[in-house]
Amino acid sequence: MTDIVSYVNHSLSQNGVEIVTLAQIKDLLEAEVIVGEDKLDLEIKTAFGADLMSDVLAFARSGCLLITGLSNPQAVRTAYALDIAAISVCRGKALTDKFIDIAKELGIPILWTQYIMFEACGRLYREGLTGCVREILVGDNTSARR
């Protein structure tokens, strides 16, 4: 995961776009770090807010920060499938041990914030994170099929 993320972020920063670290995001969201204290220097440029995992699979970009109210293991597995950089669980949603264990096992940092998704996304957008455009390199076959 890290190679692709570094490449994407590097090309973004080459174009004068601001990079925000997980540590800065943690502060902005007044979040607790539940998993990944050692990964706070991860650079994040894009974010995706959603409660529906299929949307994440369809539209989120690898290397992004996933902001969600879901605190179940499927959210971690969704992030893992897509090489998402980190998850910020919002709304102060209670986390289960299973959720935390799977995040540790799959190596995905988890931030935990009381802010509602609207507030969390609003703050991060203001800080300079952008939304995800569907990854061009994954290849969109839908038009060919229709």
């Binding site: 974010a47 995706f48 807010g49 959603a50 409660d51 529906l52 949307d55 539209f59 902001i67 109210g69 879901l70 709304r91 509602i116 998704m117 609207f118 507030e119 996304c121 609003g122 703050r123 991060l124 957008y125 203001r126 994170l129 952008t130 939304g131 995800c132």
Partner: protein
Amino acid sequence: MTLEAIVEQLGLKCKCCWEKLKTEVDGGYAGDLLSDVMANSSGGDVWVTRQVHQNIVAVASLKEHAGIVIVQGASPDKDTLEKAQMEGIPIIVSDLSEFEVVGKIYHLMHYA
């Protein structure tokens, strides 16, 4: 600020209840889990979501939301629009992602 201002400034499309766009927006709520929106959103909120089925109208009506913004290019079901028309809940759509739409609305609310 009004829903109308949000629609105009963000270049969004309103699909029904245009007469309701003058409604004042008091806050915002983003989310796709209906039970969560029921529990935690507030009256006067503009609700940003990807859900398109008619249940969203019931929720917005009950919570007295200013309106619903459906994002990421999703289209409201025909039933949803019909019900929204009946309940007087404006349905607005955007091709942008939830993050972008919320970010822009938030910016308008706090900094414009």
